[in-house]
Amino acid sequence: MSRELSPEAQKEFDWLVTRYPQREAAMLPTLRLIEREFGCIDPEGMKLCAQLIGCSPAKVFGVVTFYTHYKRETDGENVVYVCGTLPCALRGSDALADYLCDRVGIGLGETTEDRKITIKKVECLALCDQAPVCQVEDVDWLRVSKEKADEMLESLGIPKRETAGAAAGGEEKRS
């Protein structure tokens, strides 16, 4: 089954390609578009991108794997990016990442079984004065203490510590 963009997205794509003198230059924005449309960039999405841009799928594959900020097929619905670079690390991002993993019950870079949450350590998010920082989809969580981390997890459907110690409890509550 070959995929197609929705009419609105197609319109946006048509506009996008007019902004660049070469079609291939629209690669990154097009991937963003596909990411938004289909929730992640999977091989089908890459194929679609290749078809839209007019290049080989392998090229798109190379590009997608080069960048870390695209949502891959293996990622959960919400990806929690924990900044792990020096300014954040100085303010305890390692401990924060451990805490989050512990709370959700997965390891770094892993996804919960219900495919809701992925926790990834990323490099600098350019919010060093607000360290430690997390980014969940389009929300920046600044100066994340354990309390704030709980708050963040709650927004992702994981109840506060008092109610459940493990991820399983959170999942139950959500369903």
């Binding site: 070469q22 990154l28 190379g62 924060l96 350019a126 919010l127 060093c128 004065d129 607000q130 360290a131």
Partner: protein, 443 residues
């Protein structure tokens, strides 16, 4: 939201680039116009010939704020005047140097200032297409810039026949997707062309053959944001700020172990000590300083005895470090430098694009050795080995990413050698060696 502190009492400096930041709706066109926005651009486009603009910028002494500090006007003058190829401006908003978050403030809070700078640049160089390459992670900045561009189009400040002159300009926001190397100017061009963000071979330099093999000017956000002020208040005024070789105000990003981290606008040349203690309120718990990274994580570390270094391009160069993007990271005396260095090593290993052999293999190798040392399996020879590998990585690659790891690593090995030797001798480092045990926003 980034906290922009009020200018410190110790230094009466009226901010220029950040003066509207923190005000309500500072990102809107209405606000910008009501505060004299686009006046400079209007005047420049109407009254100046392109060459005159370049001359003025040359005279102002504006240096690129992205890291290398290359004179801005000189860079523009390298673009061939007569060419049948289109010319491009790429605004580098891919601020990814650890410890740097100044461009984010401008993008999010005062995007029109940037657009005005872009207008002036494009008029000066004769460019009709500009791209703002912004980090994928900065979703809000991208939104604000897009909105600002829409506003500007609607008002006729972008598009065809701007200010009634034969001057067309299209600006497009291009979002990156999480690759440090795309902050390198040629890596950014590769990425903008739709490929992997591989830096390109130089020469040819972008000014001659850059984006789509056409002449291209690549400027940092802060550089461009300086332009309207130069034309609003004049070259004399501009040169009166900062030092002779590094004129103008500069956004300093201070993070790490300070009481008030944030973006501060100060003239170039401010002593590091003043920045840390007077502007940022000193170190939490009145602890001492172990080291300071003055210009983003790729700059060599400074020791506590070097706090009087002036924060300017030439001052830091003399001190054996660099101003870079002016991302000051302060490490207090509880910090384990090996862990800090390992963190830097991890960053560069993760962000190496993998094109050139020395960087691809070297960054990983250095990280592996540092990790081994950190895990308590280090040997006394390892320090020399890392130093030697760093030597081997410097200056042998297409871009300077391998240098960006090698230089801070070598500075740490040199300046803090006894400490590292002690750590190695101890074997398994003690608990202090973790950078922080708790997520501690307040400290």
């Amino acid at each position: 939201m980034s906290a922009i502190s009020k200018p410190s009492d110790t230094l009466a400096f009226e901010p220029v680039l950040t003066r509207y930041i923190g005000k309500k709706d500072s990102h809107t066109l209405d606000f910008y116009l009501s505060h004299g926005g686009y006046d400079a651009a209007k005047r420049v486009v109407r009254d100046y010939k392109p060459d005159e603009v370049i001359d003025a910028v040359k005279k102002s002494g504006l240096r690129g704020r992205g890291g290398a500090g290359f004179p801005c006007g000189l860079k523009w003058s390298f673009v061939p005047k007569k060419t049948d190829k289109p010319k491009y401006l790429v605004c580098n908003a891919d601020e990814s140097e650890p410890g740097t978050f100044k461009d984010r403030v401008i993008n999010e809070e005062d995007p029109h200032q940037l657009l005005e700078g872009i207008l002036i640049t494009c008029w000066a160089v004769g460019i009709e297409t500009a791209y703002i390459y912004i980090r994928g992670e900065m979703w809000r900045g991208a939104q604000r810039l897009k909105a600002a561009i829409d506003e500007a189009y609607a008002k006729g400040y972008l598009g065809k026949k701007i200010f009634g002159k034969k001057f067309n300009l299209d600006v497009t926001v291009h979002r990156g997707a999480g690759a440090y190397i795309c902050g390198e100017e040629t890596g950014m061009l590769s990425s903008l062309e739709g490929g992997r963000g591989y830096p390109k071979l130089k020469p040819p330099f972008p000014a001659v053959e850059g984006l789509f093999r056409c002449p291209t000017v690549v400027n940092n956000v802060e550089t461009l944001a300086n332009l309207p002020h130069i034309f609003n208040r004049g070259i004399e005024w501009y040169r009166s700020i900062g030092t002779e070789e590094s004129p103008g105000p500069k956004l300093f990003c201070v993070s790490g172990h300070v009481n008030k981290p944030g973006v501060y606008e100060r003239p170039l040349g401010i002593p590091l000590r003043e920045l840390i203690y007077d502007v940022c309120g000193g170190i939490p718990g009145d602890r001492g300083i172990r080291a300071v990274i003055p210009g983003g994580s790729s700059a060599p570390f400074l020791g506590p005895d070097e706090l009087d270094t002036p924060m300017s391009y030439e001052g830091l160069k003399d001190a054996g470090s660099m101003l870079g993007s002016a991302g000051v990271i302060v490490l207090d005396d509880t910090t384990d430098l090996l862990s800090a260095l390992l963190n830097v090593g991890k960053f560069y290993h993760h962000e190496s694009c993998g094109q050139c052999t020395p960087c691809r293999e070297g960054c990983g190798w250095v990280e592996k050795i540092l990790q081994r040392m950190h895990d308590g399996r280090g040997r006394s020879e390892d320090i020399d080995l890392v130093d030697e590998i760093c030597n081997q990585m410097v200056g042998k690659t297409i871009c300077v990413l391998s240098d960006a790891l090698a230089m801070p690593a070598q500075s740490v090995l040199k300046k803090f050698r006894p400490e590292l030797e002690k750590l190695i001798a101890q074997g398994r480092p003690d608990v202090l060696c973790e950078l922080a045990r708790e997520p501690s926003p307040a400290l």
